[in-house]
Amino acid sequence: MLVETLLLVTLLGAGIVMLAPDRFAGKLAAGISVIPVALTTYMYYVFLTDYNGAGNALLSPGEVAFGTQIPWLNLGEYTVQYYVGLDGVSMPLLALTTILTTLAIVSAWTPIDERQSQFYGLMLLMEVSLIGVFTALDFFLWFVFWEGVLIPMYFLIGVWGGPRRKYAAIKFFVYTNVASLVMFAGLFALVFATDVTTLSLPAMATAFRGATGLPTFAGYSLATISFVLMFIGFAVKVPVFPLHTWLPDAHVEAPTPVSVMLAGVLLKMGTYALLRFNFTMLEATARQLAVPLAIVGVVSVIYGAMLALAQRDLKRIVAYSSISSMGYVILGLVAFTPLGMGGATFQMVAHGLISGLMFMTVGVIYNTTHTRMVGDMSGLADRMPWTVGIFVAAAFGYMGLPLMAGFAAEFFIFQGAFNAATLGASAPVLTSLAMFGIVIVAGYLLWAMQRTLFGGFNLETDYEVGPAAVHDVAPLAVLLLLVIALGVAPDLSLDMIQHAVAPLTGGGA
């Protein structure tokens, strides 16, 4: 019942906030969004104490936590159910979603100064869909939520965004929607080729994993073709080179709190879906294609990092570095080792927190200086010490400073991939190449910090610069604490994640 409560409370909250006056919509939305945080915290606590043995939701549906299964519709010969539940992979991501939403809402108090009630209503509406994506265990239900995320996002970018918001919003919407179509085609080709009768994800997983004698086209098995189609579909969301170009535009144009959600949670939908669909349902194919997929991941890492090096806009820097960070996730997933896959999922959470933190910090600076361009400002450390302190901490988190979540995640991925059986002899080479990302990331973040935060104070725009408000800095501090907590004690998440991916990895490093 908890998942339904979560969905309903948030949906109801979205409605209430939409109707509320602009004046206190922000505070109301923050208040309402605390309820899902409290609920997920409780669920997380239950996971940490009771559900440690819970397996993978798709492979051992009997062990799903907080599950509800109700028949819903019959579409032709397929049964559609209302089917939700959590396992070790979705729980951390769900917690990430609710926490980040609350913090993003609080961080929106300063920059959003028109149509507040609609803005916060849409944020909560998006949260409903995101909760749905991470909890749904029926494909139909999941797909409704998956697409449902796009609608609020489209308006959030298109209405409250920067100068080129319409271009960015349409690009985002069309790009990801076309991707969903490709993915849908790939998935349903398999559905029709196998004898599933319900669209529940565990049933599909069982059917696809056990499928034999699938038709072949031009020498390729349908499993391979579907895998590639689904991979392309999800890769857009992740995003993976060369399907990434919607991301920098969307990030730059979106208002900061929306960027936080976009980088923090929306990108994880892609990798989460990759893990659930490609790497769970078509495990055998994924293992066969491990080397090319790992190369895609490594190219994303280096390519994203190199592009971040060429940017002047702080938001673009973080946007491109997100591409880089998500490349690690691909590398970790294809390793099929407990540390690799566990680390990949851990990286989803870690990157969600750290990139959210980075965007929020850039947002706080932008609210004060009204510029994000490296070179238009310098010496901010003089005027806003605490914000800059958190910026520095966040940047080092991004660079993979040990005892912060980013290092833990990246280390797990590297360790898991270094002798991955799926990658064979190329494993050490590919892993070492991917590791070079940590040098480039240090390069561009240190460069940007030196130019903007340090040196004599100077600003190209005519705004008074002083310390940021408490409610601007508080979300940053909360996120930073979470990042450090996960870095010092990664088992807070990694343990449940590893339990959930254990059926896939089957031992190893």
Partner: protein, 701 residues
């Protein structure tokens, strides 16, 4: 056992002082300095206690190797844990770090507080965090934990170099320091991951319970693989398709990348001179005595792993010897006090690497110890001079400070004599032993190591002369002759908090060499080579048997596996005396040349006589230039080009698809003419067409 139970507090106390200084510092007197002093003082006391325990004076056990925190328990995967390894090596290093940190905290009262600095809480927080990280690194019992604290040390270095962030220089230097060491750490990280993947553990020393090994260490596993051919459990060898020795050498060299970065060895030494932008006490603590020592310490810590790889040893020795000479030549022409010290630091760490590479494990640790003392002293002395000179560091603006600041002068002189290697000051004993080890192993080693060692020895020997020269050039320019500026005529006086640490270190610099007077021990037969005994342990049982980190074990490995042997061309005593006399003579020669050139009341620059060489030396062999070029001249343009590619080609395709669709739509909509008759016509035609198609398909005609 008691002291070992409290050992984690050695690390945690400075960490607490970090938190206290950061959050409460501005509400405390002295900006949080007292918390730092108290914490490092307590850590020092605890370290002494631990050292006494290790020595066997108190307690029941002489070593400790336990996990204390599980970082990742791991489901079906390896378990990653933090633990403490306390043996003579780490106990000694604990003493050095806590002592210097304690003295630097006190000195900072004079250097920072008395100078009216702002941001003191940030400063003391940085010092506290640094001390904690460094101590964490020292006690780490496995490679992952070592890497973690190694990186944190790098962060602190960044924060403290960039302490004066309002100026342009320090942030840039901080960035460079972190970036260059990060480049080294990249290889280190591959090495860590590779070692854990290969051996399934990163432990430096085996963990035993009741005498039985419950978890083996990676040097021991590597040794077993090479010596006993026990390669079976190491699946990684098959993956990479290499023999055990080749692959272990690769891993060792990867880890060495981090060492070269942190210990500022060629070619990653360029960050250290820039790091002098930081406050001088920071330079003393971090960039001379402790953090830079981390690299060398790491090699010593996992010496069992390097001792089985002749290639790695040769690389270490060559890099070390070359760096020793290379950095010394640059130190000769520098005009700023701290710059001279910076290059001498690089050079001295070169000696330690040379010693480690050529099998002189004890000599390296000995030089690490003495260097920590006299280099901290020199930096603090320089700090004292800098206070006196109103933060002017140019030696040509000084002169004649001898009479005006006697405490600083005499202690600085003690440090300089130690650095130059003049008997009986500390540096003489340790540097002599380094060179002696390189020499005898150069004559006695097989596997092609001999010539390498001799080459490295020659580098080291030449550097001795240079060291003597630049050290006393510095002393003469700073303290002797006539004051050359008004400030030098009337320097600011310094307080007890400056003189106190200087005096302690000044005495130590003169005397710490006595802990290992190996030549004297050999000549007289008296057992006074204490450090050697300390690192060797008892021949039977005790901690060396438990941990495999005793020097005796390393000696056996060096001899049997790497082929490092002893050869004495002039006989046992002759070689010993010859080596000592040669290095002392060269050091004295350097000293005398410096004296003849710079000791007058009005010394003049002689660097112009070097001609073109001067230009090269002043530009540090263009090492900075090419590294900056790599970053801004190569990587950045490539990044720009990739950005163009991304915007033009990758995004161009996306926008192209959109443009084609828009264009097509714009054409297609022309059908919608708005004339209702046209629609009717189209409708009719369409119907007819459909009828025809159906007719043809249906076979009506």
């Amino acid at each position: 056992m008691a002291a070992f139970t409290y050992a984690p507090a050695i690390v945690l106390l400075p960490f607490v002082s970090f938190l206290v200084a950061l959050f409460l510092g501005d509400r405390m007197p002295k900006g949080g300095a007292l918390a730092g002093i108290a914490a490092t003082g307590l850590s020092l006391v605890l370290s002494i206690w631990v050292a006494l325990d290790v020595a066997g004076f108190v307690g029941s056990s002489t070593s400790y190797n336990e996990f204390i925190y599980t970082w990742v328990a791991g489901v079906d995967s390896i378990t990653l844990r933090f633990g403490l390894l306390l043996d003579p090596l780490s106990a000694l290093m604990l003493l050095i770090v806590t002592l210097i940190a304690f003295l630097v905290h006190i000195f900072s009262l004079g250097y920072m507080n008395d100078e009216g600095e702002t941001g003191l809480p940030r400063y003391y927080a940085g010092l506290g965090l640094f001390t904690a990280s460094m101590l964490g690194f020292v006690v780490a019992n496995n490679l992952l934990m070592a890497f973690i604290f190694f990186e944190l040390v790098g962060l602190c270095s960044y924060l403290l170099i960039g302490f004066w962030f309002r100026e342009d220089g320090p942030p840039s230097a901080a960035k460079k320091a972190f970036l260059v060491t990060r480049f080294g750490d990249y290889f280190f990280l591959i090495g860590v991951v590779g070692i854990i993947a290969t051996f399934g553990t990163g432990l430096f020393a085996p963990i035993r319970e009741g005498g039985q090994v419950v978890e083996q260490s990676f040097p021991a596993l590597a040794e077993a693989a090479i010596v006993d051919g026990a390669t079976g459990p190491i699946a990684m060898l098959e993956t990479v398709g290499m023999g055990p020795q080749a692959w272990f050498t690769v891993l060792g060299l990867l880890v060495l990348g981090g060492v070269i970065g942190k210990s500022a060895q060629f070619p990653l030494h360029t960050w250290l001179p820039d790091a002098m932008e930081g406050p001088t006490p920071v330079s003393a603590l971090i960039h001379a005595a402790t953090m830079v020592a981390a690299g060398v310490y790491l090699v010593a810590r996992m010496y069992g792993f390097y001792a089985i790889s002749p290639t790695a040893l040769a690389v270490i020795a060559l890099v070390g010897g070359f760096t020793a000479l290379f950095a010394a030549t640059m130190g000769v022409v520098k005009q700023e006090l701290k710059q001279v010290l910076a290059y001498s630091t690089i050079s001295q760490y070169g000696y330690m690497m040379l010693a480690l590479g050529s099998g002189g494990y004890v000599a390296a640790v000995f030089h690490l110890t003495t260097h920590a003392v006299f280099k901290a002293l020199l930096f603090l002395g320089a700090g004292s001079v800098i206070i006196a000179m109103h933060h002017n560091e140019n030696m040509w603006d000084m002169g004649g400070l001898k009479d005006r600041m006697p405490v600083t002068y005499w202690t600085f002189l003690s440090g300089s004599l130690a650095l130059a290697g003049i008997v009986p000051f500390a540096g003489f004993w340790s540097k002599d032993e380094v060179l002696y080890e390189a020499l005898i192993h150069g004559f006695g080693s097989s596997n092609g190591l001999g010539p390498v060692y001799l080459l490295a020895y020659t580098f080291g020997l030449l550097a001795v002369f240079m060291t003597g020269f630049y050290t006393f050039r510095m002393v003469y320019l700073t303290f002797h002759g006539e004051p050359r500026t008004d400030i030098a005529r009337d320097p600011v006086s310094v307080g007890w908090n400056v003189k106190g640490p200087l005096s302690v270190l000044g005495v130590l610099a003169a005397t710490v060499g006595f802990i290992n007077m190996a030549p004297v021990a050999k000549l007289t037969g008296a057992h006074i080579d204490f450090l050697h005994k300390w690192l060797n342990g008892p021949d039977e049982g005790g901690w060396p048997a438990a941990l495999n980190t005793g020097f005796h074990h390393y000696e056996v490995l060096l001899k049997d596996v790497a082929g490092v042997g002893v050869g004495e061309p002039l006989g046992s005593i002759g070689t010993l005396l010859g080596s000592a006399a040669l290095s002392l003579a060269l050091a004295l020669a350097g000293l005398l040349v410096a004296r003849s050139l710079y000791s007058g009341p009005e010394p003049v620059e002689h660097t112009d006589k070097l001609g073109g060489v001067k230009t090269i030396l002043m530009h540090n062999y263009y090492q900075d230039e090419y590294q900056v070029w790599l970053a801004t001249g190569l990587t950045y343009p490539v990044a720009r080009a990739m950005d163009k590619f991304d915007q033009g080609v990758v995004d161009g395709v996306v926008n192209g698809v959109s443009s084609v669709s828009l264009f097509g739509g714009r054409r297609a909509r022309r059908i919608q003419s708005g004339v209702v008759s046209n629609y009717a016509t189209l409708l009719t035609l369409g119907l007819v067409l459909l009828l025809v198609v159906f007719g043809l398909a249906g076979g009506w005609f």
